[in-house]
Amino acid sequence: MRIGVFVCQCGTNIAATVSTERVASAAMALRDVVHAESIQYTCSDPGQRTVIAAAHKYALDRVVIAACSPRMHETTFQRTMAQAGINPFMMEMVNIREHCSWIHSDMEVATEKAIDLVSMGVAKVRGQTPLFSSHVPVVSEVLIIGGGVAGIQAALDIADAGMPVTLVERGPTIGGNMARLDKTFPTLDCSSCILTPRMVEVKHHENIRLMVNSEVEQVRGYIGNFEVDIRKKATCVDEEKCTGCQICEQKCPSEAPDEFNAGVGETKAISIAFPQAVPLVASLRKEYCRLYIKGKCGICKKVCPADAVDYEQEDELHTEKFGAIVVATGYELFDWRQAYPHYGGGLYPDVITSIQYERMLSASGPTGGHIQRPSDGAEPKEIVFLSCVGSRDESIGRPLCCKVGCMYIAKQAILTREHIPDSRTYVFYMDVRAGGKGYDEFYRRAQKEAGAVYLRGRVGKIYPRGGKLVVMGADTLVGENVEVEADLVVLATGIDAAAGAGSLAQRLNIPYDQYGFLSESHPKLRPVETTTGGIFLAGACQGPKDIPETVAQASAAAAKVIVLLSHDELETSPMIAEVNHMRCIGCFKCREVCPYHAIEEQGLRDGRRVAVVIESLCQGCGLCTVACPPSVISLRGYTDNQLIEEVTAVLR
């Protein structure tokens, strides 16, 4: 065994409080150390060349570098090792900067500590064995879960790069929440004018397979090699045959709530979601259908000119392989009714949500673009907007900001003035958050051009009086209570992750927060990755976002997927767990604790059942090594013996 120790001075960062020369000479006294020296900047090009030269000269097989944090330069020096012809894992870094020279001022104390740390590093590297990365083949197909604007963007980007994409959407059409919007801030672009062409592109793209009415049930496997069960739910309509003529919808006698229009107006049990739906195919909701409730009807089947209605249709279960997964499940609006009894809790028909208002603003919406009071259909003149209903409200346990409320209130105030020129709008707000290109200007426009009156304060109560709604709030800037008599109150409700996001996250084995938002791997540097390799996030499923941000993140996720799948094979880290099969007792406690399902059962020729680590799945956490009763699992690079040697190097 021939160990070389290199003690970095890091200019004066280390050398000012640690005598690197003394550390190097003390290291020479350690067992198997054949060379030790102090280098001014070890990570610099000349520094690395010095290490390589010494490795050759002294025929080193192991190296200890005492320098900064391994989190800073471990990869750098692993590469140096490869250049020096030494296995990269036969190098141990010792942190004598962040953990020593920078936190101590006494040269004597710091030097002694550095010597201790080096002897720990030497003890550990003595037990190290060469490790080799392995390679696993990669499936080039990509799964995208969610067909909102995020999923659409990611699908198109990846498909344009030549990779086959399967886009799975739970609902009957793609388009997501964006398809329900009338206009978008701050440009007042028509939402469907910019979105529907993209939806059609998805439908016709040769590399995209679209699966609507479908959900991901099970996910097995690992980065590069996922195996996914997708359930395509029966809709009683043959997607291939249906032409979207809507005759069935016109003739259907069963009314059903119109989810696309957020409950404004009604639709039929068999219907298409909206005129620009993609695919333009009807689907039947059995829970509202007369045939399934009363056992008698069948009109839609009779009237369908394409013979597309099929009551016998059953769910289909598809099992497919994918190399990467993009989760783009989006958001839904917080249900405010329980939490805000003081706003009537849903009792007053003229207190509506912003998405309901948005549907009324839309020319293709249920009111044909006319703003109407739900109670009597009259055109409202005094309209009050409430921001932060279910956002930034600690009193109901929802401190999060919805991020888009301020801007869409400004948009709706501007649009209100266009629709009803003699209307007056009031906005009760907490703060106006208009950080974004052209956003603040847009909000000012709502005040100046649309004449919206902004009042800073939360509304305490809404109650009916003489056919109007009294909105009792405070203007905290003036320090007075304010009362507005409104014809219509619009609540900017908060944002939650889409229903079921949490359970999907569990199936994907990725973390999520208390609102169901999926967690990125690192908030700054890995914003679209998850902690599970090969699974990426796009859009509001990760946290509240507006459209530009969502699209940007979707393209970022697509770029990550393209990078991943641009290789035929993946290199996996060799610092993973390993079971000694000779001594495994087959209790499978390791399998119980493994967060990655990376342990499988295998039969040996002698009939014993033993645990085997699936190398491509193991992330190297080491949980199993501790759970193993006979202690026969070792974590490469952190074996029991190595750790004991490291600890006891300075204790004995």
Binding site: P341, H342, G344, G345, L347, K461, I462, Y463
Partner: protein
């Protein structure tokens, strides 16, 4: 010896400005066949001033003594006055959670303080003693002619983490029994709006404005009466209704009943026995009970 009866803590209001609350409560309890033992040698609950005294423990010592006495003989103490209930619960909360205060209190009492007696307000107690079904059975829709609204005020529900009684924003615990009287109980949006509380002493204008609005919304909601469990609310809404009308230039009329009076009426106890004539704003009993045998 621990009795199955309730220890009864009337407090000052029920022995002075709100004797009708005391009397009607006793009548209802009697009709239900429940034993009430008035707490022996009870003292002031501390009301609003004691917790603000510079001797921090005063707000615990005063109600704490009542708890201590009740604890010797009863499992539960009922305080119909929302203020008394609030203070007793506060003392209990402090004594349970703060060892220093518990030790100081024991030192003053020269005995290990007993604070674990269950503290109940009138709504809790009656909900426990008569189910809505049983009351419906007894009332036979007696109050079907009227529309009533519960007015909870603040002391009965806040602070919610200490009282643990009902939602402070949307309390509903009075509703089941109120509906069982046969009366219609529409949504009353002002059920927790401030009545002005003890502002009557310093800034009567604020109080009159606050109480006026409650009455006004009660009228516009089409109510025949408000129902409350707090003597201070009752005082502001009933006793001061004439002042309110005078100050605001209105001529509103809204009877305000105590919860016990309402339940008593439903049980068939006569308005006289329930001291309804002690109310300043008199309900039209003829209309209320029209057609009732």
């Amino acid at each position: 010896m621990v009795s199955t009866a309730y220890s009864y803590y009337p407090g000052c209001s029920l022995t002075s400005s709100a004797t009708e609350y005391d009397i009607s409560f006793r009548k209802v309890v009697e009709a239900l066949g429940i034993q009430l033992d008035e707490l022996e040698d009870w003292n002031c609950c501390g009301a609003s001033p004691a917790p603000h005294h510079k001797a921090e423990t005063l707000g615990v010592l005063l109600p704490g003594r009542n708890l201590h006495i009740a604890g010797a003989s009863h499992d539960a103490i009922v305080a119909p006055c929302a203020g008394c209930y609030n203070r007793l619960k506060y003392a209990q909360y402090k004594l349970a959670g703060d060892q220093d205060i518990r030790e100081q209190t024991s030192e003053v009492f020269q005995a290990e303080v007993r604070y674990q007696t269950e503290v109940l307000n009138i709504v809790q107690m009656l909900n426990r003693e008569i189910t809505p079904e049983a009351l419906r059975e007894r009332s036979q829709g007696r109050l079907a002619n009227i529309r009533i609204g519960a007015y909870y005020g603040c002391l009965l529900t806040r602070p919610a983490d200490i009282l643990g009684f009902d939602s402070p924003r949307d309390p509903r615990k009075m509703r089941p029994l109120m509906e069982a009287t046969g009366a219609e109980v529409p949504h009353f949006p002002f059920k927790t709006e401030c009545c002005g509380s003890y502002m009557g002493l310093a800034r009567k204008d604020i109080l009159l404005k606050a109480s006026h609005r409650i009455i006004e919304v009660a009228v516009s909601t089409g109510l025949d009466a408000l129902v409350t469990a707090c003597p201070l609310c009752h005082q502001n809404l009933d006793l001061r209704q004439e002042q309110i009308n005078k100050a605001m230039g209105t001529s509103l009329r809204m009877p305000v009943l105590y919860f016990s009076q309402l339940i008593g009426l439903a049980m068939g106890i006569s308005p006289e026995e329930l001291e309804l004539d002690a109310l300043v704003v008199q309900p039209d009993m003829d209309r209320w009970l029209k057609g009732v045998a």
